[in-house]
Subunit: 366 residues, 2 copies
């Protein structure tokens, strides 16, 4: 049996359940008009500049990509006022989570995070043979006090998603500052800021200043606001000594050629980014208003998604909405049985989401 | 120091040195006309069908890729007469090497391979904390007898590149058959057949039959004959029980959207594949002839590259040729100090390679 040959702890890992793809839903349910508000993607599509950049380079895809991501790092360095060596690029920030764990955490050391947060921290830690300790959220928010109390001698890496996925909450600059002051210098802190582009508050941490410390790593992605989820590209920002350790673990051709070109172009496309932000803020107001009118509670979000308390099994609601061509995310895997998470879409998509949600809830009352 | 925080064995890993990219060479040396015969890429570019498939889907790259690679697996299953569950898709076959090691080899167990073969087997094994044992080649060929003698209780995974890179030699069906008969059933055997498309001999193993055993895994890639190196896509074929263990380790969105579309189209493009094979066979004859005329020894190859004994430091030759705009691969990292490896290119590229090689050697004699 192949199972007997595998590492024991791998077989115990519960795999990540991805948001349902549009194609798959059409195929399985025989539907024609399907919208997806399940994976916090950019509803406006890909930046036109990124599309153009990819089209220019597509015929050179017989060549291996640049292993060093030379031009992208240079561009990111200019963008942030840092050096190219402050960056390491990954096949999505998922891969960078794996690289951090592999670089710094020995088997049986502990990875610490919240109990309701991005699931890949735990999955990737377990796959690498690490133990996982979690602290509960407090009012849907990372509780840094509780997290601090869980740090012990075995702790090697801490993941904080800020803003948090799937709750949309954030830890403030002051909270984080206090946490970092007491962080042991042999513990790595990863601040996953996948959704930071959507922030519209003033007390969000200006985290760039922390990377002077060699045990703090920021994660960023091109999958959300930048609209490149399908291409798989994210990056980490850290001290050059820290990134150089991580470079030892990175595979030479981990970032494909088109993703490198698209990311450079997307970084330049301020117009597209601003349109995206505006759409998300307007859509959020619309969804808040309508959820309130329907008497549904939700967690106020600084990201491009909303966690909604639907006061009934979210999985059933998810299935009912799916049958009507609206894909949302059920939260059972996160232990939030009575919740769904909805990505803020285009105006039309948001309206359809509310319409279908009403229809499904109405049917239930009959 | 970040170094003190990292896993010890990671810092000792010598990173893979990639073939020099064309862009980088132009940039660093101020050259305009550069050809690359260093990474065994397809000199004809990308299959036109793959280009068209990518262009059709490029604007949907804001969506995450299909985590299950549903359509590609279905197509591969039909192509090979197997089931979709016989396949697992990777971000290049590099990633699949990592997935195999992570799935099956515990820290401190041994990965066994040849001492002169694709370097990533050793690098990836070390990054994952495994020990590496190697057996020497015999006449530039995997010596399966020597490999067998190295198997002990600590051995968990064996990598055989067939054809071998960088030598271009292969183990025959009979040799492999004997080896597999005596393979302990708790040891995984990975047959990396990245270059099998170029085979023009009759005694190459028909390896598909071996995957009935749950400890044998085939690796294939779209990076070479299929011309998709820049997109990063490869796959493993194995028993469904074996792939299902590996699926536990695979990240949900490891294979980008464009690579999935391009691979499906490339698999259908028989015309492009046949043109590629023809070009490689003709180019090989041309290069053999000219190397002979120049009195240079080479290792006869069943792949799309030739290992050439240049009877002087290959690194110097590499540098001299680079200055004249021809990128080949120096073999120092493989311990073959007096060799270069040259990829078979287009007719024009092969002619330029010979011209520049002659020029460099002539200059040396003065």
């Amino acid at each position: 049996m192949a199972k007997d040959l595998a590492r024991k702890y791998i077989l115990e890992v519960t795999p990540y359940i991805a948001g349902k793809p549009i194609e798959e839903t059409k195929r399985q349910l025989g539907l024609k008009e399907v919208i997806k508000l399940a994976s916090n993607e950019n509803p406006l599509g890909v930046s036109p500049k990124a599309v153009a950049a990819m089209k220019r380079i597509i015929c050179a895809a017989n060549r291996y990509p640049d292993s060093s991501c030379f031009y992208l790092k240079k561009k990111l360095a200019r963008y942030y006022g840092l050096k190219p060596e402050n960056f390491i690029i990954g096949n999505g920030s998922d891969e960078l989570i794996d690289i951090v764990v592999k670089t710094f955490a020995e088997k049986d050391q502990t990875v610490l995070t919240a109990d309701t947060t991005f699931l890949e921290y735990e999955i990737i830690a377990r796959v690498n043979g690490c133990k996982v300790v979690t602290a509960p959220l407090k009012y849907f928010k990372y509780d840094l006090e509780a997290l601090k109390r869980k740090i012990d001698k075995q702790t090697k890496v801490i993941f904080i998603a800020n803003p948090n996925n799937p709750t949309g909450t954030y830890v403030t600059e002051r909270e984080l500052e206090e946490f970092i002051e007491l962080l042991p210098c042999n513990v790595l802190l990863v601040l996953d800021e996948a959704y930071d582009t959507f922030i519209d508050v003033n007390d969000f941490p200006k985290s760039l200043k922390y990377i002077k410390k060699d045990n703090i790593i920021l994660l960023k992605t091109f999958s959300k606001a930048y609209g490149l989820a399908g291409l798989r590209i994210g990056y980490a920002i850290a001290d050059p000594q820290t990134t150089s350790c991580m470079e030892k673990v990175r595979q030479p051709f981990n970032v494909n050629l088109l993703a490198q070109a698209a990311a450079q172009a997307a970084l330049d496309d301020k117009k597209f980014l601003n349109r995206t932000k505006k759409l998300v803020l307007e859509g959020k107001d619309y969804l808040y208003d309508n959820l309130k009118k329907m008497g549904l509670a939700y967690v106020p979000s600084v990201a491009n998604f909303i966690l909604v308390d639907v006061a009934r099994p979210g999985l059933d609601l998810f299935k009912d909405m799916l049958r009507l061509g609206v894909i949302v995310r059920d939260m059972k895997q996160y232990g939030l049985n009575n919740f769904i998470r909805v990505t803020i879409g285009t105006k039309k998509e948001n309206e359809r989401f509310i319409r279908v949600l009403k229809k499904v809830l109405r049917k239930e009352q009959k």
